[in-house]
Amino acid sequence: MIYREVGDFKTTYRADGQTFPIRFDRWRYYAVLLVAFAVVPFIINDYWLNAVLLPFLIYSIAAIGLNILTGYCGQVSLGTGGFMAVGAYSCYKLMTGFPDLNIMICVLVSGIITALVGMLFGLPSLRIKGFYLAVATLAAQFFLVWMFNKVAWFYNYSASGQINAPERTMFGYKITGAETSAPVTYLFCLVLVVILAIVARNLTRGHLGRSWMAIRDMDIAAEIIGVNPLKAKLTAFGISSFYIGVAGALLFAVYLGAVEVGEVFGIQKSFLVLFMIIIGGLGSIFGSFAGAAFMVLLPVLLKNVLVGTLGWPTDIATHLEFAIVGALIVMFLILEPHGLAQLWRIVKEKLRLWPFPH
């Protein structure tokens, strides 16, 4: 009734090719942006920010990044944690080395540094694929974590090996450090997320995205029709690592404030982000958001229900939380292997026919 193409006439190619061709979808998208930009900053508090929204936004960026590589280009990577660490440590070195540098520039340059590192570790992807590539990226993960632990220059020779984000401002507002206000850090991350998501969406629709997908679907065929695998794979590694690096920099500088590489950027982080895109849906920007929301929000929700509302002991609640999240992951993989994004697609298909499906 409300969700259909009928009567929504497109008169230009541009209008026809837009991201949300259905009017209702477009309005819903604008409404989400409006709520995110104009409503949430006024009602946000420290708890919502630090327990729910910041991790959600930051992991969304990481999930989009990994989705570009794994979902769109078909290159499995287990090095996400290591690449996030590159972003975090570059950001730290930039923040402490150039105290006057704008934090936004720090974050973006960290992304670029991570992109270069990612391309370096992406080189083996030209010769190996599948499980073997996963193992090669796993080596990147362990090597990077080991390096940030071992080489004291990366943590400015501090006694503990921890890196701490000093206070940095943008337009006079504190973005990092302890005395930030919730709306400011939220908006800072939100702006980055929205821009990066729009860029990713358009990249995947364009020439580059098509060449990635061609490589993913069948690399030999892609090569025969003229897709350069070197360019496609390395750009996928580079752009994906840029996103992951930005996410790592934000995770360190804005969200946590202090980071220790082995604990925060260990192999679990690589798996966490991988689960996000598998549950959310491979090859879908919306899926990255859905997966990040699922993996970030569900444990918090379960904890609040089990401990806060039902008053259960914390250890039982935590163990149960593991069991429930694990069971849900398995259930999803069996019932809907294409992830939450596919569920959303089905809902949209149904909505088009609703309320007269015959």
Binding site: Y47, S160, E260, F322
Partner: protein
């Protein structure tokens, strides 16, 4: 259809509601950021039990602190920094008076937050050692002893058993490859220069179950002594590995976080003779346990499984709670109100004085050293003793008295490290 929408809406409301924090009640809130799950649970459980049981005792026996009931909110961190942040944010709105995260990683994260929110942080025997300099770290306390005292105590013990000369001896440090494990390195390096012993560093990665190569190196190089900065599952693994290579246990000395029953018991008789430094008493031979039994255990109110009473870490948790309660009392005395705020709690902690008479009064005679906190010194005196495990008696034995650590070396390091923090974060040194 209407019914469906209604159900959907209720479902959404039910899912959204738990995110909202419950309103604060008028009592003294002591959050317990504990971990009863994960690779560090074996050590996290006894501490959390002891911490909570002491508050239960205070509520049941004394009717609270100065008439105000103490309320402990437990939040599971799993020793994970991201969960620690979530726990901090979710409990801070309830009027939390003091945080004791029992994790060096979480401590590092909370230091700037605690300064911004004005909520004190008590990191007893862990955390950032240079927080002992209260001029820089206004809201952070780590009395009565810190890592560097521990490192120095280990070296002092070696000096004791070698008649004051350890020149040319070798010492290997097996440490958790994290901020926690790296803390003692600087001190040990300074001390190795001073006393002329050789130091080998052997990092063990989280969670610490994989230590074969480190112990192979120890077997090959045969250091005269081994010291350990381990936690959780890493401790028992290391002691087991030491037993496997037949390393003489009396030459193996852990820090206080590597010296609980849960670390040595799994190794059995072979752990006999293992040593660990400590800054408080062990066992349950204290009058406070009679009160705990009467008011808490027998009332069926013991926290957790109730099987940790008298263990090292249970005692430490209880000690942490006791110091928090005493600081709260002090704060009530200074500000003359019963319902104190975190800022008042901070003042109370800074003015805290623990004497032997007070310890006796609390039912803990000879349990810990007497000390006095001041603005300049948030770290206490750093008096440390050495315990040795007796596998046959299944108990720790205290060797010698509480003794001073090398404050010449440690004091200089504290000044240096806190000055670096002050510079990096633009904190001005001040004593109010």
């Amino acid at each position: 259809m209407k019914l469906k929408t209604l159900t959907a809406m209720t479902l959404i409301a039910a899912m959204g509601a738990p995110f909202a924090a419950t309103p604060a009640l008028a009592d003294l809130v002591f959050p317990s950021l504990s971990y009863r799950t994960g690779p560090y649970a074996a050590n996290g459980i006894p501490f959390a039990d002891g911490y909570e049981d002491y508050f239960k005792l205070i509520n049941a026996r004394d009717g609270g602190i100065g008439g105000e009931k103490a309320r402990v909110i437990e939040c599971e961190t799993g020793y994970n920094t991201e969960k620690g942040v979530e726990c901090y944010e979710s409990t801070k709105g309830e009027g939390a008076l003091v945080y004791q995260p029992l994790s060096t990683g979480i401590t590092y994260q909370l230091i700037p937050k605690s300064a911004a929110d004005g909520i004190p942080l008590h990191t007893m025997g862990y955390g950032r050692t240079s927080a002992a300099n209260g001029k820089v770290f206004n809201t952070v306390f780590n009395y009565p002893a810190n890592y560097w005292n521990g490192a120095s105590a280990v070296v002092n013990h070696l000096l004791d058993i070698n008649d004051g000369d350890i020149k040319g001896k070798t010492l290997a440090l097996v440490y958790h490859n994290s901020a926690y494990g790296k803390e003692p390195i600087r001190t040990l390096e300074e001390l190795s220069k001073k006393h002329g012993f050789e130091l080998t560093l052997l990092p063990v990665d989280h969670p610490g179950q994989e230590q074969k190569s480190q112990w192979l190196q120890i077997r090959r190089e045969k250091p005269d002594y081994v010291t350990m900065w381990g936690w959780g599952v890493m401790n028992a693994t290391a002691i087991q590995e030491a037993a496997n290579i037949r390393y003489p246990m009396e030459n193996f000395i852990g820090v206080w976080w590597s010296g609980s029953e849960n670390d040595v018991r799994p190794v059995g008789a072979k752990a006999n003779g293992y040593k660990a430094v400590n800054f408080h008493g062990v066992g349950d031979d204290y009058p406070v346990y009679d009160d705990l039994k009467k008011h808490v255990y027998d009332a069926g109110d013991a926290t957790g499984a109730g099987d940790q009473h008298g263990t090292v870490l249970y005692n430490r948790g209880m000690y942490a709670a006791m110091l928090a309660v005493e600081a709260a009392k002090k704060a009530q005395e200074i500000h003359d109100v019963a319902d104190i705020t975190p800022a008042m709690m901070r003042d109370g902690m800074e003015a805290l004085e623990i004497t032997e008479e007070k310890m006796e009064e609390l039912g803990l005679p000879n349990f810990g050293p007497s000390f006095k906190v001041s603005c300049e010194n948030h770290g206490g005196p750093g008096l440390v003793t050495v315990n040795q495990w007796d596998a046959k008696a299944d108990s720790w034995e205290q060797l010698g008295e509480y003794s001073e650590s090398d404050m010449d070396v440690i004091g200089a390091l504290i000044d240096e490290d806190s000055a670096a923090y002050a510079k990096e974060n633009e904190v001005e040194e001040a004593c109010s």
